[in-house]
Every structure is written in structure tokens, then in C-alpha cells.
Subunit: 350 residues, 2 copies
């Protein structure tokens, strides 16, 4: 890479539009008035949750293209992936668009991986416009990864709640919007956590590794960013991340926010907060993007994390390998930055 | 994209080394004396087939790096994916290398997608060296996608046999080896085939679409290439591809070869030939790469195909969306080209 494992986008591709959609539970929270579509029914009129998930992803994709005033034919590629086996939500949604499709997968870090690779395609002049999209659905994830919904299993206090939602970012070589300025590729980090109900603890070390390498590669201090945004560490994982980073000599406690920690109004069910590829996607593509457009926040490091496990790997006794890809998004390069006065912060443990 | 949906690599990244490994059944065929490691035991000394699969992938990765005379620290990123749910083979193998990891997925077209995106990273100066790798294992695929092995199910005549094998290509900005000159991004194509035992028929239209777009975007005739190499269409799919392309006014019958069709010595079991992400990877990274180095063939269009289904999508009655990404690999740009006198061709139906 150009510096360590960080790529720098010399032409600063723009995030010219986003599309977002989320379920009723999600829209009861802070993102509710920012998403393009707030579902009142989490089946989205479909017969299966899998079909609802891909319909949400397609909706977000199409919304991002339409909001940029473009036709599908003007988008060179869709970079997308999701949590379902063989990323079927992304594949089937791409089929409906007819846009060339590059499947990517890094679990709940898929949005930041897609933005990083999409950024390279646009920045290098290989594509004019690409859509980067992902999503998840509580009910399809639950039955694939955990138990049949009908079983009514209890959940341990360290567990999280998969977000029903999707988001898409349209990246373009030309246009208005915040710029993608650089990105750091994640390494697979595994501290030996094997509790599939404690993803925040499993993923926090990967986030710490990537954020620290990003700061080292760019020579930036944490306060360069208004917001160091992780995807779905949840409340416990977020505290662990701050501690892990502090141990290694940096302090992100003033500007770290986790999408999973802020997505829900805290009631008993969600415990540590939201999770899933749709968590960072729905939050970033609605609430955060809107604040970037308004200038309330100007520099965001989006470092979504992913747990690279499967039910088979866990069943065979493996620990959980995790990853975090980070991308820097800057509304005004070199401008003064505020200290995110308007960004909602979860109150737990702060 | 720069032309249609094709990207052109102005700096022609080099394929400086490959690594390859395959199982005993595979090594009884044409690739046997070209792979870096021919397994005599398809468990590779592991307790589970999933562990064997990831060990093969790691072997191929490490072999490609070692054969280039490099250390892992000198490789900027691994682009990899595989057929297992949540691409666990790729994720766990990347964990062992410590190299930054970008997960990609387009089923059995994963190698060509990885080469295309890896090519963009290297060509654009975003990375110096990247490894592009994938693999598959008959026994892990069989029990994930079809039936428990112990059931001893019979197989219909249109079925294929998942290749036990893996391959890795090391792409670099500098060095010796054939060059990556351009690549065409696949679209998701679905002609309505829903028979999961007839992947060749499902995937042939995607291959035809990408190959025809590639020829149109580049202004090349089919005979520009010594070899138009698909991944795992099998004998039936290969015939369908030639027919579909002919219907649209081009003739690739003189230079099309399918890795799945040539990988096995034809005995009753494999019916239409090999399949799986490891099929194109093991064949390309051993047999084909060696012939490129020898100069027997000079221009290859690698257009591996992938079927973007899952057991859930099939169970819910969906058809099979397919994709093919194509990359052009040229041993001597602008040089004379032979007519692949040494390339083995399957005799079935030719």
C-alpha cells in the first residue's frame, strides 16, 4: 500500500448520494426521521424474510441512484455483500438492477470494504460511479445464525440485536458531497473469543488494530476526526475498544461512537445494541450522512467491524476471526471541524 | 468503466508467481504434474474437510509468496473468497498469514473477480503486491450444498464434481511474468434455470454475456486469444456457451476450453466434469500458468463463472443467478500467438 496498509485517494471520490431503509424497531430510534423509507412491516410485503432483506437492499441501491438524479445505466458497478450464505441478498438485488456486480464480504464490515474498493475504482479512473451497499434483517439472520424464531430462545445480556435495514452509498468521480480521502485495509484479528453471543468483545481488537494502524499511517491524531464511527461493537464492545486503544497510547474516548450503540432506544431486548451489516449501513447512510451534508460533522472515520465466523466454524470449536476496514470521509478537506455537538450518544457507560 | 464495463490496466500488473495444490482425484488428471503439491490424502491431515480446505488455501497462498521469493510482510493484501458459508476458508487462511484481507465472493468466478480488483489495486499504484486466491473441497461443498456424504446419493448425468484444490496468483507492479491487461466486470444473468444439478446450463449465459461484452469493449475478435478459458461450465455448459456465443454472431469454438471439462480423466463419476472455485484456481495456477511461462500460449481470457445461489434460495424456489468476470492475461503483449498446440482438450462432444 502507499503507506503501511492505507491507500490515499488523490482525486477524492465524492459520496454524491445515499439510500437507506430500516424496519419499524430501528425507525423508533434516532435514524427514524433520516431514512428514505421507514418500514411499518418488517416483511416489506414479502412471503419470506430473505426476500424482504433483498428487497430492502434493492430499495437502498435504487434510492441512492435516483437521489443522485441518475439512471442505473450510468452506474458502472455495484459492490455489495451481506450476511446470508453466499451473499444471496446482494446477488439477487444486483440481478434486478442489471448493473455489473462485484461481490464483497467482510461480514458487518462489508460497507467499509465496499467503500474502500469502490473508492479505488473511482479514484483510479477505472469507473465513473459505483454503488456500495449492504444490509441485514433480524429475522433472516436469527434463523440462519442462531435459532428458529419460533423457539423463542432467551438471549444473554452480552448479546446484540441484528438490525433490519440497508444502506447504499453512490461514489462518483464528479459531483457534490463529502469526499472519500483514504482507507485502511483490515487484518484478521483473533483474540480467542468463541462466544457467539459476545461479538462486541470478539470484534473490538480488530477495530483497535485498524484504527491504530490508520492513525500511524496517516500521522493523524484521534481528534483529527469529529467522529470515529464503528459499526456494531455495541455498548460493551465500544468500551473495550476505547480501553484497548488507550492501552496502546491513543485516546478516542472523546470522539468514538458506535452505530450499534446508538441505533436503538435502549429497552431490555437489545441488550448491547444493534449489530449486522445493515447497522452501520442504515445509520451511516441516513443519520451520519445527513449530518455530514449539514456540516455538523466534517470528518468521519468509518471503521465498521466484521466477525468472520460461520455456524460451521463455531460448531467445530473455532474462535472468531474478526476484521475492520476503515475509510475516511471528509465533508470539507482542511476546514475547521466541530466537536459533533449534534450527534446523539448513547448514555450507557459514558 | 473506461469502455463499456471493461477496465484497462495501463501499467500491466504482472502475475509474478502462482501457488497451487489439489487432491488425489484431481492430480490423476492433466494438472497432476504441474501443481506445487499433489495431495495423496484429501483430508490433508486434518480432522474435518473444512479444515482441510482452508489448509489447502493457505498452502497455495504461501506457495505463491514463497515462489516469488517474498516474505508475507511484502504482500499488501490478500483478495480471497470461497464457497463455504461466510467464506470461512478465506477468512481463516488470511488470519494465519497476517496479511490485510479483502473478502470477495462471486462463487466459482471468485478468482477472476479477485484478479480484476487486485489488478486495479496494483495498476493504480494503491498496492505493490496482492495475492488473489480461492479454493474448494469436494467433501465440504457436498455436505454444505447437497447431501451428507454418508447418504451415498446417486448423481444425475448433468451433474459435476467439486474440485478439491486451491490456487493463488501473486500480482505485482514490478517483476517478470505474464501481464494482466484488462478485465470485464460481470453482470448477474439468470435465464431461469433452477436445477441445482445443472450448473453448466445455468452459468453458460453469464459467460456468453461477459465474453461478448469483453470482445465488444476491446474491439477484439475471439482469435485474439489463444485460449478463452471458462472455469467450471463442464462439457454440457461448454457446448451451450459456444452455441450461445455463435447465436450472437461470434465463434469461440476454436479456442474455448473449460477448466472443468479438462480437469478430470473422464470416468463415470464426474459426468460433466469439475466444478467449484478451486477448479479454475487449481487449473489456471498450475497447468495454464506454466504454459504461459513456456510461451506455448500467450493470450488467455480467463472468464470463470459463478452461480450465486444458496441452499436457502433454491429451497425457496428461486432460479439461479449467475455471473462471469473476465480478465485478460498476456504473456507477450503484441507478440505473435500460437494456437495452443499443447493444451489438452477434452474429447467429449468436440
Amino acid at each position: 500500500m502507499q503507506q503501511g496498509h492505507t491507500v490515499f485517494f488523490k482525486n477524492a471520490p465524492r459520496l454524491i448520494a445515499t439510500g437507506s431503509i430500516a424496519g419499524p424497531k430501528e425507525c423508533a430510534g434516532v435514524i427514524g426521521k433520516f431514512v428514505d423509507k421507514a418500514l411499518s412491516d418488517d416483511t416489506f410485503g414479502e412471503q419470506t424474510f430473505e426476500r424482504a432483506e433483498r428487497k430492502m437492499l434493492l430499495y437502498a441501491l435504487e434510492a441512492s441512484i435516483a437521489k443522485a438524479g441518475l439512471q442505473k445505466e450510468q452506474v458502472d458497478a455495484v459492490l455489495s455483500g451481506d450476511l446470508l450464505n453466499q451473499i444471496i441478498s446482494a446477488g439477487f438485488a444486483a440481478r434486478e438492477t442489471g448493473i455489473p456486480f462485484l461481490g464483497v464480504y467482510s461480514a458487518c464490515s462489508t460497507l467499509s470494504e465496499a467503500l474502500l474498493l469502490g473508492g479505488v475504482l473511482v479514484d483510479g479512473g477505472y469507473a465513473r460511479r459505483v454503488a456500495c451497499a449492504t444490509g441485514s434483517h433480524f429475522s433472516s439472520a436469527e434463523r440462519q445464525y442462531r435459532y428458529p424464531l419460533e423457539l423463542g430462545n432467551t438471549r444473554p445480556p452480552q448479546s446484540q440485536w441484528t438490525v433490519t435495514g440497508a444502506g447504499s452509498v453512490l461514489l462518483a468521480a464528479e459531483g457534490e458531497g463529502p469526499a472519500l480521502t483514504c482507507g485502511t485495509v483490515g487484518k484478521v484479528v483473533d483474540y480467542g473469543v468463541s462466544d457467539v453471543n459476545n461479538m462486541g468483545a470478539a470484534m473490538a481488537p480488530a477495530a483497535a488494530d485498524t484504527i491504530l494502524r490508520h492513525l500511524a499511517d496517516t500521522g493523524r491524531e484521534p481528534d483529527y476526526y469529529d467522529l470515529i464511527l464503528t459499526g456494531d461493537l455495541g455498548a460493551l464492545g465500544s468500551r473495550l475498544l476505547k480501553e484497548l486503544v488507550r492501552e496502546r497510547g491513543a485516546d478516542i474516548s472523546a470522539n468514538h461512537v458506535d452505530c450499534g450503540e446508538i441505533v436503538y432506544r435502549v429497552v431490555e431486548d437489545e441488550f448491547q445494541g444493534g449489530s449486522g451489516a445493515g447497522c452501520s449501513a442504515a445509520v451511516f447512510c441516513s443519520y451520519i450522512y445527513e449530518h455530514l451534508l449539514r456540516g455538523d460533522i466534517r470528518r468521519v472515520l468509518l471503521a465498521a467491524t466484521g466477525a468472520l465466523l460461520s455456524t460451521v466454524s463455531s460448531g467445530q470449536g473455532e474462535t472468531i476471526p474478526c476484521i475492520a476496514h476503515a475509510v475516511a470521509i471528509e465533508a470539507e478537506i482542511g476546514g475547521l471541524h466541530s466537536t459533533m455537538p449534534h450527534i446523539y450518544r448513547a448514555s450507557k457507560g459514558e
